[in-house]
């Protein structure tokens, strides 16, 4: 009897421990009526005080969305999404009088960040990172703005950019990911609530890493972020995106769109750590992460590098891509994806080589544990015009346990004889010898797995900015807790 109680208690502790970032902060929301209709789109647009052209664009996207089928090709399984059972707009109540400094910010909100271990103040002071914290949909604090303004960098919520730099937004928004790209992108175009806008002027090397912490907070609120980064000639920027979300039962839809564009000799480095709630051991709850990310290397010798560490979400559907249009442009994709329990991830990249002497590198590391399913899906397309193009792809999968799956689906299309494309993929498991070696030296099984997996991912982790790398390494350990033994 006593033993049973003890077990129950133990299990309880473990269950509560399962997701360290799981809690809901109770803040009053000003929400749009539940469901999706033209009225919802108009409500959001009106709330944001948007110009006429943007409303029209949203409505066109919405109408197009209605006609589009759900993408079916990914290797993920989930019940059909009820788009009418969700809220599409939620903003912290204090939207009308925005806080000027951290002091004015809702203390409860600050508390949330503290629990997450990302106190804004500390980040500001110690890490030297300008944080545009997105709490649900409205950016509540933008720091270091002044310093950025001095060099002419524009870094603000996209809703603000629509007001202050409409010409830039109008010119580029939707030019890289058009609303008709896929159903999720169309939905985002219709109902996006906020996101980041970055413009780096000619010849400017952004003095600090730009970072946005996305948080999903309100119950039943899908998040529709839209990010647009423009790097003008000869400029450089490193952008960090990281996410955590509170624990909840109902599935949440997240359909973000990220558009990057680089002019001659410009470079964008885009890093993501994604740690949204993955659902419980039985796959209940968890975020649907349907993201469309694409970068266009328009200028000569420009470069776009995507790095992602994907550990969260119940379902990940994400293919950060590069269109290498400018001669000599470079695309890179580094990815670590970890799926545990019932998580499903279908992720990869597309490298479209158009310009001469374009180069791309793909390194993808997938770790599948529990009863999770993971797929790398990638396309390398060399057009006839891409004289001298080069690609190298490396995809490695690691399986932990005999209930999970790891799949690799690369597409290689080459139409230029001077191009060189190489693809390698391997699948293996953590060998007993490796584990034994670590255990023998006094590591626990979980520590050993974390160590080995971190080694397996090292190639990708080292491309992460310093602040992220530390966090991401810890995350890998946490994500694989309970996967062995």
């Amino acid at each position: 009897m006593a033993a049973t109680t003890e077990t129950v208690e133990q299990v309880q502790t473990l269950a509560n421990d399962g997701y360290k970032h799981g809690f809901v902060t109770d803040i009053e929301m000003e929400t749009a009526p539940k469901g999706l209709s033209e009225d919802t789109v108009r409500f959001i647009s009106a709330k944001k005080n948007e110009p006429e052209w943007l409303l029209e664009w949203r409505l066109t996207a919405y109408r197009h969305w209605l006609t589009m089928p759900e993408p079916q090709w990914a290797k993920v399984k989930f019940d059909p999404i009820d788009y009418q059972d969700s809220y599409y707009y939620a903003a912290p109540k204090s939207d009308d009088d925005r806080p000027k400094s951290l002091d004015e910010i809702d203390p409860k909100l600050l508390e949330t960040y503290k629990k997450l271990g990302i106190p804004l103040l500390e980040q500001e002071l110690l890490a030297g990172v300008a944080v545009d914290a997105v709490f649900d949909s409205v950016s509540v604090a933008t720091t270091y703005k002044k310093k950025l303004e001095e060099v002419g960098v524009i870094f603000c919520p996209i809703s603000e950019a629509i007001q202050t730099h409409p010409e830039l937004v109008r010119q580029y928004m939707g030019s890289i990911v058009p609303y008709g790209d896929n159903k999720h992108a169309a939905l985002n175009s219709a109902v996006f609530t906020d996101g980041s806008f970055v413009y780096i002027p000619k010849g400017v090397r952004c003095p600090m890493e730009l970072s946005t912490y996305f948080r999903i907070n309100a119950e039943n609120t899908g998040q529709f972020e839209r990010t647009l980064i423009i790097a003008d000639e000869g400029s450089y920027v490193s952008y960090l995106e990281g996410c955590t979300a509170p624990q909840r039962d109902e599935h949440q839809l997240h359909a973000a769109v990220v558009e990057l564009i680089t002019m001659d000799d410009a470079e964008i480095k885009y890093s993501t750590v994604q740690n949204w709630y993955p659902g419980d051991e039985e796959g209940r709850g968890g975020i649907y992460n349907f993201v469309t990310k694409r970068g266009l290397c328009r200028g000569r010798n420009s470069k776009i590098a995507w790095t992602q560490v994907e550990t969260g979400s119940a379902i990940t559907w994400k293919y950060p891509s590069c269109v290498l249009e400018g001669d000599g442009s470079i695309g890179e994709f580094y990815s670590v994806a970890i799926t545990n329990n019932m998580q499903q991830a279908d992720t990869g990249t597309k490298m479209i080589h158009i310009g001469k002497n374009t180069r791309s590198t793909i390194v993808s590391k997938g770790i599948s544990a529990g009863r999770a399913d993971q797929t790398y899906r990638g396309l390398v397309k060399i057009l006839a015009s891409a004289e001298g193009a080069q690609n190298h792809t490396q995809c490695d999968s690691l399986l932990i346990g005999d209930q999970c799956g790891a799949h690799t689906v690369p597409y290689i299309e080459c139409a230029n004889p001077t191009a060189s494309v190489a693809h390698e993929a391997t699948t293996a498991k953590i060998s007993d010898e490796q584990l034994f070696y670590c255990l023998q030296r006094g590591l626990s099984e979980e520590e050993a797995v974390s160590l080995i997996v971190n080694g397996f991912c090292k190639e990708v982790m080292k491309t992460l900015p310093m602040e992220f790398a530390v966090e991401a390494q810890k995350l890998i350990g946490i994500s694989l807790e309970g996967s062995v033994g």
Binding site: L399, T408, T418, A419
Partner: protein, 439 residues
């Protein structure tokens, strides 16, 4: 206003072949095939498995079903691999005993036409014929089944040993002006612990559509070498589906050489349904002009402790297009699987295109699986090395290309077959080079 409905289902206008004495299971099998084909229609690029191979041109051709058999056909010896072998011949899908040479066949090996067996002892075929074809997403194999009438039938008894290769020659011949379509079928039942080498050759003249299907059963402990040489005529369409079932400890050594046809697709499905199986499926392809050559393989690891290996190499010239799709599936129980796959392609000219899709689908953790794919041009350093030794560009290129392809041919385990195929590849190169000079 009446839309031509049959457009969606070309080739399926005529009723399936039938005789009054056909067993009911056979009629049911054909009807089932026809129904499946009509339900699915001809695959389009919207079907994932046919993403890179478009059959539009094929569907627009007006093929006539083969009528009476063509009499005046001779076996084009010069276009076949030079082998000391037993020979059986199909002309437009019909078995031709008169052209076959099966004298001295060892005891325990039975080669005949499917039509003959269907009449003499249909019960022998019932458990095998049409049982292996994987229907899902294979409408063309279904179409073959719908018109199943004749083909090769090879039975090898348990423990039998075939002393020489068995050469199965399928000849396509258009009679008169209309292009024909025909449905060659191959059934191989290799008993336990037998040893055999089978070489399939596909040749022909004129425009025709050869839509083949093969079912190969390999018993426990059997060793089967199976080489397919596809050198169809320049206007031919060749689509073939081979399904292989392997039992415990079986060794299957498969090879496909493709250089013929205007559009050719060879699809192989191997089910490793036993333990300790070794399965090799390799291939080489040469595409030139406007040719389209597709190699699609699917290796299904069902049980533990099996090995599979694939090496495909291709050379593309002119404005040709080649496709390689290779899938390795490792099911949950298939622990200790060792899977390897490699596809390399050389692009020799502007306008040629290679589409490659190697795929791993893995549900077991204790496995070793890898695949590699490369596409590129000839190595500039290697070319320079040869030229620095006084070899002219043309010869140097030819040497390197031949060596590139020979790598894959080297995967053939049977020495006699390997040499014959190697010679054929060289001959094909020589022919192509001559053509270039003529132009």
């Amino acid at each position: 206003m009446t839309r031509n409905v049959t457009k969606l289902h070309p080739f399926a206008d005529s009723a399936p072949a039938s005789r009054s004495d056909d067993p009911t299971w056979l009629s049911a099998l054909r009807q089932d095939g026809l129904r499946r084909y009509r339900d699915a229609g001809l695959p389009t690029p919207r079907t994932e498995a046919w993403k890179y191979t478009n059959l539009r041109r094929l569907s627009r051709m007006l093929f006539q079903p083969v009528g009476s058999s063509v009499e005046d056909v001779s076996v084009p010896e010069d276009r076949l691999p030079k082998l000391d072998a037993y020979r059986a011949v199909l002309v437009n899908g019909r078995y031709r005993a008169d052209l076959s040479r099966l004298d001295g066949m060892p005891k325990g090996v039975h080669v005949s036409g499917i039509a003959d067996v269907l009449r003499a002892s249909p019960a022998k075929l019932e458990p095998l014929l049409g049982r292996l074809a994987v229907h899902e997403g294979k409408p063309l194999a279904d179409l073959n089944t719908a018109y199943l009438d004749d083909g090769f039938c090879v039975f090898i008894d348990d423990g039998a040993v075939l002393d020489k290769p068995l050469h199965l020659v399928s000849i396509g011949a258009s009679s008169g002006t209309d292009p024909v379509c025909f449905y060659p079928r191959l059934l191989v039942s290799a008993g336990a612990d037998c040893i055999a080498t089978i070489v399939e050759s596909h040749v022909g003249d004129g425009a025709y559509f050869s839509n083949g299907a093969a079912e190969i059963w390999v018993g426990a402990g059997a060793v089967l070498n199976h080489c397919k040489v596809q050198v169809e005529g320049a206007e031919a369409y060749h689509i073939a589906d081979t399904a292989i079932h392997l039992s415990d400890r079986a060794v299957y050594d498969g090879f496909v050489f493709q250089s013929g046809g205007l559009l050719a697709r060879n699809e192989v499905y191997a089910s490793l349904d036993g333990e300790k199986i070794e399965c090799r499926i390799s291939g080489a392809y040469l595409a030139t002009g406007k040719q389209h050559i597709d190699n699609t393989t699917f290796i299904d690891h069902v049980k533990p402790d099996c090995k599979s290996r694939e090496v495909f190499k291709g050379v593309l010239d002119g404005t040709s297009r080649a496709v390689f799709q290779g899938k390795i599936l490792v099911r949950k129980d298939a622990q200790k699987t060792d899977g390897f796959q490699l596809n390399k392609a050389l692009l020799l000219s502007t306008g040629a295109e290679m589409d490659s899709k190697p795929e791993l689908e893995i549900y077991a953790d204790d496995v070793k699986c890898s695949h590699g794919a490369t596409v590129g041009e000839l190595d500039a350093d290697a070319l320079f090395y040869l030229r620095a030794r006084g070899i002219d560009l043309e010869t140097a290129r030819n040497l390197l290309v031949a060596a590139f392809v020979d790598d894959a041919v080297g995967e053939i385990q049977n020495a006699a077959v390997r040499e014959a195929v190697s010679e054929m590849v060289q001959a094909q190169f020589a022919m192509r080079n001559e053509d270039e000079i003529d132009e």
